[in-house]
Every structure is written in C-alpha cells, then in structure tokens.
C-alpha cells in the first residue's frame, strides 16, 4: 500500500447566497500529512465532504492520485473510495451493529472476509488502537467517547486505506485522551504508509499529527506551512488563531 496525492483546484461551494468555499487550492503529496485549521463555519468540513464525494462542489477540480474525480466512471470512483478511510467527528458508528461488525463493515459488505474471520480481524485491528478484543462484542452505545473514537479509527484503518481523512479527531475528548488518539493516528498512518488529511481547531492535536498545516478562512486557504511553525509563522491571522488570542485580525473582522 502507498499513499495517494490529493489536489484541489479552485474548489467552490455555496449554499444559497452563502459562499462557503471560495476557490480552494490545496495539494497534499502522496504519504504526506496535512492538517487543515480553521474556525467554526470556515468551510473545513464542507471541503472534506466535497473531497469524499458526499457533496458535489459547484466548481473546481478534485484530483486524487492524479485522477480527476469528477471524470471517473461509477466503477472507478467506487474503486477509489475503497482506498479511502474516514474518521468522522462524532464517530458515526452504526448503533445497530456490535463493535466488531462496525470495525469490519467494509470488508464484510464487500464480502472480502467471512463473518467468522471478521471477528478475528476486528480483534486484531482493535488491538492496534489499544482496545481489548472483548470490546468487539459491545454495542457502540456502551462505549465512552474516547473508546468510540478509537473504534471509529479502527473502522477507518481496517481496510488498510491509502488515504485517511480525519474530521476533528480529538473534539470532545479530555487532553490526555486527545493525546492518546493523536498518538494512535500517527502510528496508524505511519504503519499504513497512507496520506493523511485532518481538519481540526485543536492546536496541540494539529502539531502532533500534522507534518504540514494550512489555514482556511472565509472559504479560502490563507496560509500553508509546517505544523511545527503554528503560532509563530508570521501570518497574523494564523498566529492569532494558533495562540487562541482574543485580539487580532480575525476578531477585528468580527467587530466590523
């Protein structure tokens, strides 16, 4: 397995009169790890949904592995989706299925594995995210928030994807559990050799899981650089956001 590159060219999306993505250009090389930062309502999640094909963009081009997604046939697009893993913000685990079926859902749905083998596979993947195999028999409702995130991560990596998308992986978790999840994400991405694109507004998490970072503001990418430089990159908006300061250009815009 090897990662796939992801490129966005002039991506635009609006909901009625509200312009959410205003020409987003972004490139993540194969095996790269990018964290996209931005405040609430800045367009991060919409951008991710457009890349995943959950929402059609109004204009622009999305290339994954050098292929224009919009030009792919249904079959090729399905094949491409097979190479993608996604961790949703709230986990999005299926309530009606036990944990082990959640983890191996894609493998079972595609009949790549028998139900008997899926239990063993689930135990194996759960171990990668630090959970005991006995968790596999529980239902998602019986898990804590941190455990749900781990199971969601296990589900995202179970089919060994080439690209991993992570939507607010540490939201709602305490700082220690957030650090644990970040560590697991870094381990999993390295083990898979996958490309990783995360969106977050948790600075500590961004520095831990990203090699590079980009900031989206009002539907545009306003900065790109190394994740390590967050907070002292020289861009006033990014530095204000990274430091969580009340005073600065972002707040000044809100006051206007």
């Amino acid at each position: 397995m090897s990662g796939l590159s992801v490129s966005l060219h002039g991506l635009r999306k609006s909901f009625g009169p509200k312009l959410v993505l205003d020409g987003v250009d972004l490139t993540v090389p194969a095996n790269g790890s990018l964290v996209v930062l931005g405040g609430s309502g800045s367009g991060k999640s919409v951008m991710l949904r457009c890349i995943l094909g959950l929402m059609p963009p109004d204009a622009g081009r999305i290339e994954i592995g050098g292929q224009d997604v919009a030009r792919l046939s249904r079959r090729d697009r399905a094949a491409l989706m097979d190479r993608i893993g996604m961790l949703f913000q709230a986990g999005a685990l299926f309530d009606s299925l036990p944990v082990w079926e959640n983890v191996c859902f894609k493998l079972l749905a595609q009949k790549r594995i028998t139900r008997g083998a899926a239990r063993d596979k689930a135990a194996e993947v759960l171990a990668l995210v630090g959970l005991a195999s006995s968790v596999g028999d529980l239902s998602p409702a019986e898990l804590s928030g941190g455990m749900q995130k781990r199971v969601a991560l296990a589900r995202a990596i179970a089919s060994r994807p080439d690209i991993l998308f992570l939507d607010e992986p540490t939201t709602g978790l305490d700082p220690i559990m957030g650090a644990v999840i970040d560590g697991l994400i870094v381990d999993c991405v390295q083990r898979l050799g996958a490309t990783a694109i995360s969106i977050t507004h948790d600075m500590a998490s961004a520095r831990r899981i990203g090699e590079r970072a980009a900031m989206i503001h009002k539907g545009r990418i306003i900065w790109e650089g190394t994740a390590a430089s967050l907070g002292h990159c020289g861009n006033a908006m990014v530095d204000q956001f990274a430091r969580g300061e009340r005073e600065g250009p972002i707040q000044m815009e809100l006051r206007r």
């Binding site: 989706m81 859902f105 749905a109």
Partner: protein, 259 residues
C-alpha cells in the same frame, strides 16, 4: 400585492412538484436496488422479522376487536330491516376487502413507518449515512431497499392473520352473544367469500407495505436539523403514509371492483 400572492402560490406548486418528483426518483432508485445484486439478506431478514413478527400482536388485536365490533354494529343496524342473517357476509367481506388491509396498514404505519423514519433520521443527523458511503456501501441499497422489500412482503402476511382474526371476532360475537348457530354462521361466511375478495386485500396490503416503508425511509433519509428534524421526519412519515393508505385504498378498490 396580487402578484406577490400569485408568486407565493406558484412557489408552493413548484415546491410540491419538486418534492413529488424527488420522491418518485427515490422510489425508482430503491426498487432498482431491490432487483439488482448485491443483496443485503441479513438486513432484509432483520426488517422482515421486525415488520411481520413484532407487529403481529397489535395487528391481531386490532383485527379481532374490529371484527367483534363490526358484528355487533351490523347486527343492531340490520335488525331494523330484519336482515340479521347478513351479518356474517358483511363481516367477512368488510374484513377481507377493507378493514383487514387498511387497519393493519395504519397500525404498521404508526409502528414501523415511524421507527424507520426515526432510525434513518438519526443515522442521517449523526453522519452514519455518510459513513456508509465512505465505507463503499450505497445507503439506498443497504438501508432503503431491504426495508421496502421487507414491508412489501410482510404486510400481506399480517393481513392474512388480520383477516382470520377479524372473521373470528365476528364469529365469536355472532355465536356467543347474538345467538347465531355456529355452522350456519360459517356457511354464510364461506358462501359469500370469493377468491378475489382475499386477493384484493392482499394486493392492497402489499401496496400499503411499500408506501409505509417508502415514506418512512424518504422522511428519515432526508431529515435535517438534529433531534427536532428527526421528530418532524417521524411525524411526517406517519401522517403521509396514513393519508396515502386511505387514498390508495380507493384506487386499488376502484381497480378491482369497479364494474
């Protein structure tokens, strides 16, 4: 002022047309997934059991008491014209042609239609439907098609039970309370009953099952806005299915029995 009023009417009509068109496309896509592999047999079985088995008590009780009330009411009504002997005929025809399928449909709409809308609505607002797509699974095939097929096949079975219990309710009241001779009551029942009476009821049941699941899935699948949206979807599913059941009851009756 007048132009604004007319524009408002126009917008409403256009919105209604758009909704009906979208619903028709949704139904078409669901049916296409029912006949195209791969099939999700476990999902179908789960929903079939939910509709056919777990709805049995409510449908059975409704049919039994309806048959009993029908016998009692028709007896007191027919007594005015000395036509009490028609009670058995009225009960069996009413139950098999109309009351069995319609009451079973309304009961299942309240129970299953609401449950489908609530489950799919919750899955929608918690990103579970989007998660299915990212797991290379078409939500229409995995969630909607098995539910529609299960309800379409299960409701006729429920109506068979409803027919039997409805007639039995009339028989119990007729023989135990109204003084009919058991053999005579049963003879009257069998003499008047024709195959088409039962078949029309079962066809209605299949149509109602399809409509109940379709509206439940449609409202749930398209719900928006958190818990409030899910609640609204659930209410809409039950109301829409109930109205459509009554409207389509007329259409199917017209198709079978208009001379």
């Amino acid at each position: 002022m007048v132009l604004d009023f007319l524009a408002g009417i126009g917008r409403t009509v256009l919105r209604a047309c758009r909704e009906v068109g979208a619903l028709a496309l949704f139904a078409g896509e669901a049916v296409s997934h029912i006949v195209r592999p791969p099939f999700h047999g476990r999902q179908f079985l789960r929903h079939f059991i939910e509709v056919a088995y777990f709805s049995l008590p409510v449908v059975a009780l409704t049919a039994l008491f309806t048959g009993m009330v029908l016998a009692l009411q028709s007896y007191t009504g027919f007594a005015r014209f000395n036509a009490q002997s028609a009670v058995a005929s009225v009960v069996v025809l009413s139950v098999t042609r109309e009351l069995g399928p319609v009451l079973a449909g309304l009961m299942v709409a309240g129970r299953i239609g609401a449950a489908m809308a609530a489950e799919l609505g919750t899955m929608r607002v918690t990103d579970q439907i989007d998660a299915l797509r990212t797991l290379s699974t078409d939500p229409m095939k995995y969630l909607v098609a098995p539910r529609i097929l299960a309800a379409t096949l299960a409701l006729p079975l429920l109506v068979v039970v409803a027919d039997i219990l409805g007639v039995m309710g009339g028989y119990l009241i007729g023989t135990l309370k109204l003084g009919f001779v058991s053999a005579a009551y049963l003879d009257s029942t069998w003499d008047v009953l024709e195959v088409m009476d039962v078949v029309s009821g079962l066809v209605k049941a299949a149509v109602f099952g399809f409509i109940i699941a379709l509206m439940g899935c449609w409202c749930g699948y398209n719900s928006r806005g958190g818990a409030q949206g899910v609640g609204l979807a659930t209410t809409s599913a039950v109301v829409a299915a109930s109205i459509l059941i009554l409207a389509l009851d007329y259409v199917v009756t017209e198709a079978f029995f208009s001379q």
